[in-house]
């Protein structure tokens, strides 16, 4: 997409391409700085963590903190739980948001506007307000202290639905009309025409769901009771130790470890994500 920008950059000849790249580099360094600091601190002892000027490359790198994480918590079980929860929530959200988004974008039915308003309104309620009632609802269904209890309530997604609606609205209307002329019914139009085009949009929903739920802390804290059901963010807390006496290096090593899958998902999902987001924000 550099074509339209040719004119753009020529217009701003005062700010040459090198200056622009330099500016972006500074911004990127500022953005990544804290992450780099986290990684490098996890590789040295806490006693060195306050060195100024900060050492980006540790003088005596040590993986002791990582061993510490594996010694203190059952990383694999926690990671399995987190993976199950996050993957199923992401898949579930892709399904619910894909279907609902399509309905709001392309199907006509009564109460469409108020229903859409209702869906959007759920974005506006902080979790802290509803957590006790949610717990009571889950208890009545026997889902407290299970991973399903974390997964099922997270299936409906207001933002995902909103995003998919935008996404479907962005697709050319004539495709569906052509199919209709060919005699396709509403289901066929969805199945054969629009659904296959929705992949990048669904990828955003999936990646965003993964990001959010992988790092989620408050819901698992309240809803899970047995240690076997803890997710990674919960497990990492115990690294902080009594009254904050845990080693900061071990704490950060835990943060870095838990960051890896999220980064991996981001790298894999980056392309569809970008394509998806391109059309999400643009259309009515």
């Amino acid at each position: 997409m550099s074509q339209p920008t040719l004119t753009l950059s020529r217009a701003r000849h005062s700010l040459g391409p090198w200056a622009r790249i330099a500016g972006l580099t500074v911004c990127a360094l500022l953005t990544l700085g804290p992450v780099v600091w986290t990684v490098s601190t996890s590789l040295r002892t806490p006693a060195e963590s306050f060195e100024l000027p900060p050492q980006i490359i540790p003088v005596h790198p040590s993986t002791a903190a990582y061993h510490g994480v594996f010694e203190q918590i059952d990383v694999w079980l926690l990671a399995l739980n987190s993976t199950l929860v996050t993957a199923l929530v992401a898949l579930g959200q892709m399904v619910t948001a894909g279907l609902a988004g399509y309905a709001f974008a392309r199907l006509d039915f009564r109460f469409k506007k108020p229903l859409f308003g209702l869906v959007l309104a759920t974005m506006m309620v902080p979790l802290q307000v509803t957590i006790v009632p949610v717990f009571l609802v889950l208890k009545s269904t026997g889902l407290t202290d299970t991973l399903l209890g974390l997964i099922v309530p997270a299936f409906p997604t207001a933002f995902g639905t909103f995003l998919m609606r935008q996404y479907f609205l962005g697709m050319p209307k004539d495709l569906g009309e052509a199919a209709m002329l060919d005699g396709a019914g509403p289901w066929r139009i969805f199945r054969s025409v629009y659904a296959p085009l929705a992949r990048p949009g669904l990828a955003i929903v999936g990646v965003l769901a993964f990001n959010y739920h992988w790092n989620e802390f408050f819901r698992p804290l309240i809803l899970e009771t047995s240690g076997q059901n803890y997710t990674l963010p919960l497990g990492l807390v115990s690294l902080q130790g009594n009254l904050g006496t845990g080693s900061i290096s071990v704490v950060l090593a835990g943060v870095v470890l838990s960051m890896i899958p999220a980064v991996a998902v981001f790298v894999v999902g980056q392309r569809p994500l970008r394509e998806g987001i391109t059309s999400a924000g643009v259309n009515r």
Binding site: P4, T5, L8, A11, R12, P17, R20, I21, L24, C27, A28, T31, L32, T38, F50, L52, P54, T96, A97, L99, A100, A103, L107, D108, F109, L118, A121, T122, M124, V125, P126, Q128, V129, T130, V132, P133, V134, L136, V137, F155, P156, M180, L181, G183, G185, W187, F190, N215, P233, L236, V255, S258, V263, V265, R274, I277, A280, G281, V282, R284
Partner: protein, 318 residues
């Protein structure tokens, strides 16, 4: 499910049965409605069970005194009267609005600036590196990164003040003065969140047809003026989405102030959701907490409605 009818008369249907003519239009509509119902069911049922019911629950709760331990007692509007005379609650609403204005404005400006700059000429791989870098903080947990940021922003020993010192400036009391604390919370929040708006803008810019730029260039529009006159109106739908989502999220900020400052010094960074959390789970006043929650909900609804209203005037769809 196969459809037997269509509203467009010129089209032959595959399975036209003799009596179908009279019901044809409604048959397709019925199909559509059925499909819509099926498609919406998971979302709507889920939302009703796990959000609407709990919300109704907390609205009801806001009319009761309840400490969880003893049975609730009816309070009428007492909780609302109580929170309106509670200076902490009022301050928290002010803080949250101040935070929202600065955080959303900074987030949008930074994201827009970077997206426009990135749109300039450069190698594709470099563009991709930058894009990834700016998005990266989004994959981190807000709570963990706030712990890290607390180190970096420490007044006496933090890296940030050390960096500032390199330029000969005096150390800033980031976390221990009222303005400094609010600024730090905004910075840490924006640092993590701007990537999302950034990606939206990148997408929006990519969708602007290049002919428009060329036409503008022919008309002699250059630099900033061109952005203001040409690019921004075309980006306005994206801007609306980014600001709606940005505002809804900013009004619910919790982790960053909770970890960085615990609401202090004084009440200077105490946000509404922090107050809700403290009232409910620390002070056992679930009725009051729910009342604050209801107010916040109303506020967010109002702000969002206002945005959509304003958007009719300022947002241009292609």
């Amino acid at each position: 499910m196969t459809d037997t009818g269509t509203r467009i008369p010129a089209v032959r249907t595959r399975a036209a049965s003799p009596g179908a003519a009279a019901v044809r239009p409604s048959a397709r509509e019925r199909g559509t409605r059925l499909l819509a119902a099926l498609f919406l069911a998971p979302t709507v049922v889920g939302i009703v069970v796990f959000t609407v019911v709990p919300i109704v629950g907390s609205v009801v709760l806001s009319l009761f005194h309840w400490n969880v331990i003893d049975a609730p007692g009816f309070a009428g509007t007492a909780n609302y009267r109580e929170i309106f005379s509670d200076s902490t609650v009022l301050v928290s609403f002010r803080n949250t609005l101040v935070f929202m204005v600065f955080a959303v404005a900074a987030q949008l400006l930074i994201a827009l600036g970077l997206a426009l700059t990135l749109n300039g000429r450069m190698p594709a791989w470099l563009r991709s590196v930058f894009r990834s870098a700016f998005f990266f903080p989004l994959v981190l947990s807000a709570a963990s990164i706030s712990v890290v940021m607390k180190y970096l922003f420490n007044q006496d020993f933090g890296v940030v003040n050390w960096l500032i010192g390199l330029f000969g400036l005096a150390p800033v009391p980031w976390l221990t003065s009222e303005h400094g604390a609010m600024a730090t919370v905004v910075i840490v929040y924006v640092w993590q969140q701007f990537g999302f708006s950034f990606l939206l803008f990148v997408g929006g810019l990519n969708n602007i047809p290049k002919e428009i730029h060329e036409a503008a260039a022919l008309d002699g529009a250059t630099g900033l003026r061109k952005h203001l006159a040409v690019t921004l109106p075309l980006l306005s739908p994206t801007l609306l989405v980014a600001s709606v989502v940005g505002i809804i999220n900013a009004l619910q900020v919790f982790e960053q102030p909770y970890v960085l400052t615990d609401g202090g010094p004084g009440d200077s960074t105490r946000t509404v959701v922090m107050v809700i959390y403290e009232k409910a789970f620390e002070q056992l006043r679930f009725g009051e907490a729910s009342a604050v929650g209801v107010l916040l909900f109303v506020l967010i609804m109002a702000v969002t409605a206002l945005q959509f209203r304003l958007s009719r005037r300022f947002v241009h769809y292609q």
